[in-house]
C-alpha cells in the first residue's frame, strides 16, 4: 500500500498496463507533455511518442481511429480531455464503438477505454463542467465506470483496459488531488460491476458515485452526530450497476436516496429509483428521494455555480425528512 493521489493512481494504472501488454497505447491531445491534468506525466519518456500519441484536435477521429485500431487488435486508451468534448465524437462512440461487435455478429471486439474527465471544477462554466454519464448508461454495448477513491481509480482503470468492451471511464476533475491508500500489486484489479460499501448504516441507503461519494460521506457524518445512520454505497460502475448490493441495503434500511452531480431529469438516479420502486415498493417506508442538479447550464460565477452544487447540508436535510417522516 502507498498513499497516492487519484491522478497518480490513474497514471500507475496506465503505465502498468502498458508495460504488461504491448497492444495498449494512449492517444489524445497534449498527452506528450503529460495530459492537461498531468495524468499521463512521464509516460512519453517511458513508452515513446507512438504509444503515447499526441493527436490533432480531431475528437471524432481520435475516437473513430481508436475504433479501427481496436478492431484490428490494439487496445487504445482514448483521452477526451474534458467529457464535454466527447460530444464531438458521439457517432464514433455510440454508432461505432458500441455497435461494431454486435452489428458484425461478434466477428470483432472493440477493446477501448474512453477517458472523460467530468464534473464541476473551479469555475469552468457550461462547456467544461458537465456530468453526462446517464447518456452512456443508456447505450447498449458500453460499460460505464465512475470511480471515486484513488484505489478504485487504479483498479478500475486497469480492469477497464483489460476489458474487451468499450468502457466509458469517467474521472472527476475535482478528484485529481484526492489522496488515499492504493495497493502496489501490479495485478490489483477492481472488477467492473460490483459497488463498494463506503459507509455502513441502518437508517437510509444512499446510492451515489464519483465525487458525490465524498459529499455523501460528509452528510453521513453530520447525520451520525444526530443519531441517524446513513449507509453510503459508491456505485463505481454505472453500467452494469450493482443491484444486488443496493437491494440488500434497501431491504435493511427500507429507505433509498440517490444522489448525483448530473442534472436530475433523466439522470441515472432515476433508473436506480425506478428499479428499486418496481421491486421493493412493499419494503419502502418512505418515498424514494432523488437529488441531482437543477436542469440549468452550469454557471461561471462562483455564487451562481454554487446554486447547482449538492452539499452535505442539502443531503442531510433530505435525509432527516426521509428518516424522520
Amino acid at each position: 500500500m502507498s498513499v497516492i493521489s487519484y491522478q497518480e493512481a490513474a497514471l500507475q494504472a496506465v503505465a502498468e498496463e502498458m508495460r504488461r501488454d504491448h497492444r495498449v497505447w494512449a492517444l489524445g491531445e497534449d498527452l506528450g507533455r503529460g495530459g492537461v491534468f498531468g495524468q499521463y506525466r512521464g509516460l512519453r519518456e517511458e513508452f515513446g511518442p507512438e504509444r503515447i500519441a499526441d493527436t490533432p484536435i480531431s475528437e471524432a477521429t481520435i475516437m473513430g481511429a481508436s475504433v479501427g485500431a481496436a478492431l484490428v487488435g490494439t487496445r487504445p486508451v482514448v483521452e477526451m480531455r474534458f467529457a464535454d468534448f466527447a460530444l464531438c465524437a458521439v457517432d464514433e462512440m455510440v454508432n461505432q464503438a458500441a455497435k461494431a461487435r454486435f452489428m458484425f455478429g461478434g466477428q470483432a471486439r472493440v477493446p477501448m477505454v474512453i477517458r472523460q474527465p467530468s464534473g464541476m471544477w473551479r469555475s469552468s462554466a457550461a462547456q467544461h463542467s458537465q456530468s453526462l454519464e446517464a447518456w452512456y448508461a443508456h447505450i447498449p454495448g458500453l460499460v460505464v465506470v465512475a470511480p471515486y477513491t484513488p484505489a478504485d481509480n487504479k483498479g478500475l482503470l486497469k480492469a477497464a483496459i483489460r476489458c474487451d468492451d468499450p468502457v466509458i471511464y469517467i474521472e472527476h476533475k475535482d478528484n485529481w488531488a484526492l489522496e488515499g491508500e492504493v495497493p502496489d500489486d501490479i495485478d490489483y484489479l477492481v472488477p467492473l460491476g460490483p459497488a463498494r460499501l463506503a459507509r455502513a448504516g441502518g437508517d437510509l441507503t444512499l446510492v451515489t458515485w464519483s465525487k458525490m461519494v465524498g459529499v455523501a460521506e460528509r452528510a453521513a457524518a453530520l447525520a451520525a452526530a444526530q443519531g441517524m445512520e446513513i449507509e453510503v454505497i459508491d456505485l463505481r460502475t454505472l453500467w452494469p450497476w450493482d443491484q444486488e448490493m443496493v437491494f440488500a441495503s434497501v431491504a435493511k434500511t427500507k429507505r433509498l436516496m440517490v444522489v448525483h452531480e448530473a442534472v436530475q431529469v433523466g439522470g441515472f438516479g432515476a433508473e436506480i429509483a425506478a428499479t428499486v420502486a418496481e421491486h421493493m415498493a412493499d419494503v419502502l417506508t418512505a418515498p424514494i428521494c432523488r437529488m441531482g442538479a437543477p436542469r440549468a447550464p452550469i454557471s461561471y460565477a462562483k455564487p451562481l455555480e454554487d446554486e447547482l452544487r449538492i452539499t452535505p447540508e442539502l443531503i442531510m436535510a433530505n435525509a432527516s425528512r426521509q428518516i424522520g417522516g
Binding site: T61, G64, A65, V67, F102, G106, A108, L142
Partner: protein
C-alpha cells in the same frame, strides 16, 4: 462518351481482364438478385445498389492481399465481393438469415467479413474514414505489413471526419488508400450542387496527400493505377487519394425511381456501363463470345443459387438478439430473465 469498342491506351493482360470482368459480373448478378429480393419484400431495410460502379471495387481490390483491409459504406456489396467475401453469406445476411456474414444482425449496410480483411460497411456517411485510418494506425503500431483501403462516396467529403481522417493519415503517414467514388449523387441531391471549391482531390492535396483521378468505369485503368499505388503505400509512402469518376445507374436505394434526374442523361449513361466496356475490350482482345457468355451465365447461376439458399435458410434463433453486445453487463434473453 466512350463506346463499347473504345480503344483505351493501356495494355492489360487478357487473362487479368477476364478475372476483373468476372468479379464485376458477379457483383452485378449479386445486386440484381438483391434488387429483386428487395422489391419482392424478402429483403428488408434499405438496399443501396452499386450497379454501374463495379469497376472501382474490382479494379481496386484486385491489387490487395487478403491480409490488406478495407472499409466501405452503405453502398458496399461490390467492395465486399471484390475483397473475397462469400456472396452466399452476404445474401443470407440481406435476408436476415442464420449463417449471414453477421448472423443476420447487420443486414446490407453492416456487412463485415474480418477473415478476408473486410472491416465493415457503415450506415453513417463518412464514418468508415476514421475507422480505416485507425486500422492503418493499428497496423503501424503492431508492425504489420498491411494496406487499408477506405471507400466512400462524393457525399462523404462534406462531413468533418473526411477532413479529420485525411489529416490524421497524412500526419501519421499511414498506409491508407482513400477511394472516393464520384457517382454524381448524395442520395437524391446532385453532389456538385452542395460541394464548394475544386473538389475532392484539391481537398486531399491541401492536406498533403497525393491525389489521383481515374475513369472509374474503366476497370483496366483502375487496376493499372491502383496497381502502381498500392506497392508505394506498402513501401511507406504514406496515404494516397484516388477519385474514381463513375455513375450510379440506379436510384439511391432499390426502391428509388430517381425521377429527380434527367432521364435522357441517365439512360445515356448505360452506354458507359463498365461491364459493357470491359466486355467490348475483351472481344477486341479476341476472347471468344461463348467464354464471355459463360462468365455471365455462371455468375447468374451462382447468384440464383445464393438467393434460393437464402430464401430457404432458417432465421436466427431469438436469443441471438441478446448475444455479442458486451461481456460486462450484457442483457438477458427474455425467456431466461
Amino acid at each position: 462518351m466512350p463506346n463499347n469498342d473504345a480503344h483505351p491506351n493501356h495494355n492489360i493482360d487478357r487473362d487479368r481482364l477476364v478475372e476483373l470482368y468476372r468479379t464485376m459480373r458477379r457483383i452485378r448478378a449479386f445486386e440484381e438478385a438483391a434488387e429483386k429480393a428487395s422489391l419482392s419484400g424478402q429483403v428488408g431495410g434499405a438496399v443501396h445498389l452499386s450497379i454501374g460502379q463495379e469497376a472501382v471495387a474490382a479494379g481496386v481490390c484486385a491489387n490487395l492481399r487478403q491480409s490488406d483491409q478495407i472499409t466501405t459504406t452503405h453502398r458496399g456489396h461490390g467492395h465486399c465481393i471484390a475483397k473475397g467475401t462469400d456472396p452466399g453469406a452476404m445474401m443470407l445476411e440481406l435476408f436476415g438469415k442464420e449463417g449471414g456474414t453477421c448472423g443476420g444482425k447487420g443486414g446490407s449496410m453492416h456487412i463485415a467479413d474480418f477473415k478476408v480483411g473486410m472491416l465493415g460497411a457503415n450506415g453513417v456517411v463518412a464514418a468508415g474514414i476514421p475507422i480505416a485510418v485507425g486500422a492503418a494506425h493499428g497496423a503501424k503500431l503492431l508492425g504489420e505489413d498491411r494496406v487499408v483501403v477506405c471507400f466512400f462516396g462524393d457525399g462523404a467529403i462534406n462531413r468533418g471526419p473526411f477532413m479529420e481522417g485525411l489529416n490524421w493519415a497524412s500526419v501519421f503517414k499511414l498506409p491508407v488508400l482513400f477511394v472516393c467514388e464520384l457517382n454524381g449523387f448524395a442520395s437524391t441531391t446532385h453532389s456538385d450542387a452542395v460541394t464548394a471549391g475544386p473538389g475532392a482531390n484539391a481537398r486531399a492535396e491541401s492536406l498533403g496527400l497525393e491525389a489521383f483521378e481515374v475513369d472509374g468505369n474503366d476497370v483496366a485503368a483502375v487496376d493499372a493505377l491502383v496497381g502502381d499505388l498500392i506497392p508505394r503505400i506498402r513501401g511507406g509512402s504514406g496515404p494516397s487519394f484516388l477519385s474514381a469518376r463513375t455513375y450510379r445507374l440506379k436510384g439511391h436505394t432499390s426502391v428509388d425511381p430517381a425521377h429527380y434526374r434527367d432521364q435522357e442523361f441517365a439512360a445515356a449513361q448505360w452506354d458507359n456501363d463498365p461491364l459493357a466496356r470491359a466486355a467490348g475490350e475483351l472481344r477486341r482482345l479476341g476472347l471468344p463470345g461463348e467464354q464471355l457468355a459463360s462468365i455471365d451465365s455462371d455468375a447468374a447461376a451462382e447468384m440464383t443459387l445464393v438467393s434460393d439458399a437464402a430464401e430457404a435458410a432458417g432465421h436466427p434463433a431469438p436469443e441471438q438478439a441478446f448475444t455479442d453486445i458486451q461481456d460486462i453487463g450484457a442483457p438477458v434473453w427474455r425467456e431466461q430473465a
